[in-house]
């Protein structure tokens, strides 16, 4: 699978990652090499089923309210915080 520079830019946009032109070129080349290796999977016969790592179904739990983490601890890790809110750049009118 060949990844062009334009394709790499489209994926970077989906992934919210910024690359300069040289880095994007390098990324496209590396992805091409890795995906070419991965293309071996096309040759395998499969039963059309999919599998996970567990034997059993994941159980459901009751939807109960429980104590969360403390607001002070959350505030301590926040890059910008005021009056109990995360501060972000203005969104409206962008």
């Amino acid at each position: 699978m060949k990844i062009t520079r334009d394709e790499a830019r489209r994926i970077a946009d989906l992934a919210h990652l910024e690359f300069d032109d040289a880095a994007l070129e390098r990324m496209a080349a590396e992805m091409t090499k890795i995906l070419t290796y991965i293309d071996q999977l096309r040759e395998v016969d499969d039963a059309g089923k999919i599998a996970g790592a567990t034997l059993s179904e994941t159980p459901m739990r009751d939807d109960e309210v429980k104590p969360g983490v403390s607001r002070d601890d959350v505030a301590r890790n926040a890059p910008a915080w005021r009056d109990g809110y995360f501060i972000v750049p203005k969104v409206i009118g962008e």
Partner: protein, 464 residues
């Protein structure tokens, strides 16, 4: 008395007080860490409770009293508001957390060179990698800085560095150990693992950290076993399958060492015969789609808003996302997010993600069939010994292929253990991998303990 850190903790804790034991560990860390770079944070004196045995924790497992960086700039200052279940269980059992170990950023790597805090060096030869991504944990145990460490596995990140550093590494069955507080890489594959010098220590620790946890719905309700109960029973009559498709191309010292390991099991009365897992050669291709797809979703949470690095550059919300992630993530993490985003994107989802999951089902069926005939499956843990620092950093695919024998166990969810099997002519460790069916850890420890007793490689320590 000899150095307490050269003994298994099962013996050392009987010979010295908690304070002496933790003090000895902190001194050893102080002495060797500048050379090995195994630790990102070290606890202060007085860490731990009255029953303390020192243990190190990989720095992608959250602790309240020390930062959790995941080896990334994006979490360089992060201190978790809660503690991982495995860590809480250790503390409740009297263990003392003496430090957080270095890792490939977000556990993405096989050499611990992809860490924002610099590479870990192999205690047996400091020009070599320690393996990864739990390279700090493996190096710390091998260098006798701590008797035990927790690591994490997504495709071999405990077993491969354990092999490169000459120590025991366990990846438990998926669901055996709670993932609560293990920073998510690929949630359907991730599992906390254990690194120790000996098999018996590893078995005891699994009993401490294993078991159901309401905070992780994928943790199993299956009862915690008496994991060390059978370690003295030997292997007579047990059936070991040698995975033909994996070992047919082995050569050189890895081949001779592996063949010698098979002979040791045969001499113990085990049945050792060829086994077939036809799709095992596709494991890395499957892994790099499934793991990266999950990673691209999991790492979307790092956006510079709620915690972690925020870029000072941009003016808009879009800039904030792109610049914070661009500055915070390293090259390998970006590469994996890109591959995962591609595999899940419109137009490619069926051909890549769907295809990988379908071949994974075949792999699972192949393992199930092999375990109808055998109690265990065997391969070397790695296709080669620890490689020189820098040898693979420019070739991501060749780095990925160093997990070729370990990734299958993660994809099918089974437990697997790396046990030291000798040394190369250059003095670098070699390792045997034993895989067992889901939740057969007790049997796995039995087989590995026999091999360990016959070989005693764990007694050899690196000269630092």
């Amino acid at each position: 008395m000899s150095d307490p850190l050269s003994l298994p903790f099962t013996e050392a804790r009987r010979q010295l007080s908690a304070r002496e034991y933790v003090g000895a560990s902190l001194r050893a860390i102080g002495e060797h860490n500048a050379k090995l770079n195994a630790f990102i944070h070290v606890a202060g004196e007085g860490a731990g409770g009255p029953l303390s045995v020192p243990i190190a924790i990989k720095d992608n497992i959250v602790t309240r009293d020390m930062p959790t960086t995941c080896g990334s700039q994006i979490l360089a200052k992060f201190v978790s508001p809660f503690e991982a279940t495995a860590v809480s269980r250790l503390r409740a059992a009297g263990w003392s957390i003496v430090g957080k170990t270095n890792l490939d950023e977000f556990a993405m790597g096989s050499s611990t060179e992809h860490s924002a805090f610099g590479p870990v060096r192999n205690p047996w030869n400091t020009a070599r990698v320690a393996g990864g991504s739990s390279g700090g944990s493996a190096a710390a145990v091998a260098a006798r800085m701590v008797p035990a460490a927790l690591g994490s596995e997504t495709g071999g990140s405990v077993r491969q560095p354990a092999a490169f550093c000459g120590v025991v590494g366990l990846k438990p069955t998926y669901g055996r150990v709670s993932r609560s507080g293990l920073v998510a890489f690929a949630s359907g594959l991730d599992q906390i693992g254990i690194i120790t010098k000996t098999v018996r220590e590893c078995a005891e620790l699994l009993g401490v950290i294993g078991g159901h946890d309401p905070l992780d719905s994928t943790s199993s309700a299956q009862a915690v076993d008496d994991y060390g109960a059978d370690v003295d029973r030997g292997v007579r009559g047990l059936r070991f399958g040698v995975v033909s498709e994996a070992v047919e191309k082995l050569e050189g010292e890895v081949r001779t060492n592996f063949d010698a390991a098979l002979e040791i099991l045969r001499r113990g009365g085990a049945v050792v015969e060829p086994a077939s897992v036809p799709t095992i050669g596709h494991a890395i291709a499957i892994y790099y789609i499934v793991a990266n797809a999950e990673a691209s979703a999991n790492l979307a949470r790092f956006d510079g808003v709620r915690y972690g690095h925020r870029s000072a550059r941009g003016k808009t919300l879009r800039d904030l996302y792109f610049d914070s992630r661009g500055e915070g993530f390293g090259a390998e993490v970006k590469r994996r997010i890109m591959l995962g985003t591609f595999a899940l994107s419109s137009g490619y989802y069926e051909a890549y993600y769907g295809r990988a999951q379908a071949v994974r089902a075949r792999l699972r069926a192949d393992f199930d069939a092999a375990f109808q005939r055998f109690d265990f499956l065997l391969t070397p843990t790695t296709p080669e010994v620890a490689f020189p620092i820098g040898a693979k950093t420019d070739d991501p695919l060749s780095m990925y292929l160093s997990d070729i024998f370990t990734a299958p166990a993660n994809l099918v969810g089974i437990p697997a253990l790396a046990v030291p099997s000798g040394f190369s002519r250059e003095g670098l460790p070699l390792s045997l991998q034993i895989m067992a069916p889901h939740f057969a850890e007790r049997a796995l420890f039995r087989a590995a303990a026999f091999f360990e007793k016959e070989t005693n490689y764990w007694r050899r320590a690196p000269k630092l």
